[in-house]
Symmetry: C2
Subunit: 361 residues, 2 copies
């Protein structure tokens, strides 16, 4: 059961419990380079990204933003850190939301100006608290008072975010989503659970600096899995040391794993045995990647189940209920079968091409 | 806080809340092939595996088991499915535990014989329920009565496991661990949470048929993350369509992600930008893999933090607190630094060799 939250639009994307959990990423191009940033935004949109953040630090970024927002396929969130005036300019330049770090943007007058600006533009604010920019003394004081380190950080994350939400509410801003991030899985999960219980703001889930795709995706899945299964989380970004497109693929995998996004077609692959003469794992990965790209482009297929089997002894028979299947043969060739009946032989390339054409049908 | 459970030994590995969460895998060799199975068991042990399952279906497996248990570096769990008499023979052949599938091994007299056998050998039983071998009619009846499909399956998993535990208890077996597995993340998590609340048996966590390493690891992390963070789970196997060694690496990553295993040395890598002239992601992955293999072999290092940075502009400075760091240079070379001070230039191969020698120190 999804946790009930406020609901509002961020550009064309609904945020909150009335809408599906959305996928975000962040450009790693210089925002001042409109051409490179737009190219990356198009890649992100093709991969299945729905919202992207861009850093906005200086006037050159603002100049480029006017062109970027006009041509971007995705609504943009302006990431504001030390130069808070950029928030006002980013709204004028057409950004669909502003991200403020409560550990950094604290000036009351500035918050008031930003509040007025987003209200007149009718756009939301993301309050994005980050463990790295919390006041250290307060955390240390709690630890000295016997509170475990991870609880102390989680409490301070919630406190920093909540205080900024209250300030913004006083100035009339109600369309707020909140992120509470740490590179530590335990801290992030504790902070999100605590905040979910405290408020009705939509939550933006993610870890900071999760790492490389292999390690970062596991960390993120471990952190977000339990939250999403409990209905907590309305939008998400998987931060990886990798291309932003990889972040989107990782987010899709996590949503599919939790049963929140349709994971069809299902891929069934045998665990392989001594009879396998082909590179079964490589072939299965290739087919997974083809399906991932196909689905990321927003296309849908009628295929419900695809089988990848090591050998023909049991292959077509065991995978009788698969709409489409592929199996190795004794001499390392492949056979393709449909509902258990062999329809053709193929080389690996031919087989992959055939799969693509069948997906498109 | 770890959920309190019964505690017992499985070979030399403690199972239960008094012991660390242990890592299991399962050989995909024919058990009758003692040479191949022993070779794989040695690989698994080197990777950090602590317990391995082997399938025991026929007398040829038993013959080989005598040699395998004598030479195996790991305690072995005999996986019993349709041929329940093999359980008795596997105990005689030196297995450290028996795994029974309650959906398949149901004969009361046979359970009584197995109970006597494990009691005399003083070894535990794993009751391993699997959604694929549950009675379909009971699940369908529940669904017709309005129970959501995933709850119906989770309840039946718990029911099947609990009933077998009760039977075994009647016959005097108390050292029981329980697995409740499905390929669906939601069902598996619901079943484990429910069973954890019902009993004090140690839980063996995992999904069945999780898939390829990339997808299966994400699914497993999403499922196990929330459970482990809540203190549920005493031993685990990550089922992958891949070499069993990959299952061990995936399990280690999940335990590290949840803060249950020491993840030191921490690897910090920058997200890269336009200044990066080297293959930062590839280099970071290489270093991660070196550390993974180093740790899997049971070695420990004094290094706490390792930095991998894209460029020398901020590299050594930003990673000042890293014990050891590596950074690209303008011409695509690498520099190595220690606590912020550059100590040498290196090619990629030299740098990786240097890292290995520093880890060993």
């Amino acid at each position: 059961m999804r946790r009930k939250t406020r609901n509002f639009m961020l550009g064309n994307v609904g945020i909150g419990s009335n809408y599906p959990v959305s996928i975000q990423s962040m450009c790693n191009t210089a925002t001042s380079d409109a051409v490179a940033t737009l190219a990356q935004l198009r890649q992100l949109a093709n991969a299945g990204c729905q919202i992207s953040r861009v850093s906005v630090d200086k006037d050159e970024d603002i100049t480029a933003l006017y062109r970027i927002t006009a041509e971007s396929p995705l609504p943009l969130v302006a990431d504001i850190q030390f130069n808070a005036e950029m928030a006002l300019k980013a709204v004028d330049a057409g950004c669909a939301a502003i991200r403020l770090n409560p550990g950094i943007v604290r000036d009351e007058n500035m918050l008031k100006s930003i509040a007025r600006k987003v209200i007149s533009a009718n756009i939301p604010i993301r309050v994005g608290a980050n463990a790295g920019s919390l006041p250290r003394q307060e955390i240390e004081r709690k630890i000295q008072n016997g509170i475990p380190r991870e609880d102390a950080i989680a409490e301070e994350l919630c406190h920093a975010a909540y205080r900024q939400c209250q300030t913004l509410e006083q100035y009339g801003v109600h369309n707020i989503k909140v992120a509470l991030k740490c590179s530590d899985v335990r801290v992030t999960v504790k902070a999100c659970r605590r905040f979910a219980g405290m408020t009705g703001y939509p939550l933006h889930l993610g870890l900071t600096e999760a790492g490389t795709p292999q390690r970062g995706t596991v960390k993120s899945a471990a952190a977000l899995g339990g939250l999403l299964l409990d209905g907590i989380g309305d939008t998400m970004r998987i931060s990886l040391t990798a291309s932003p497109v990889e972040e989107v693929f990782a987010a899709i995998k996590i949503l599919e794993a939790c049963g929140i996004r349709d994971a069809l077609p299902e891929i069934v692959s045998c665990p392989s045995c001594g009879r396998t003469e082909i590179d079964l794992f490589g072939l299965t990965c290739d087919i997974e990647n083809i399906i991932q790209e196909f689905k990321a482009s927003g296309k849908r297929t009628g295929l419900k189940k695809i089988a990848v089997m090591g050998c023909p002894v049991n292959g077509p028979g065991e995978a009788r209920d698969a709409d489409l299947g592929i199996s190795g043969t004794k001499n390392g060739e492949l056979i393709i079968f449909r509902n258990g009946t062999v329809i053709r032989k193929a080389t690996r390339d031919e087989a992959l091409q055939f799969f693509i054409s069948e997906l498109e049908k």
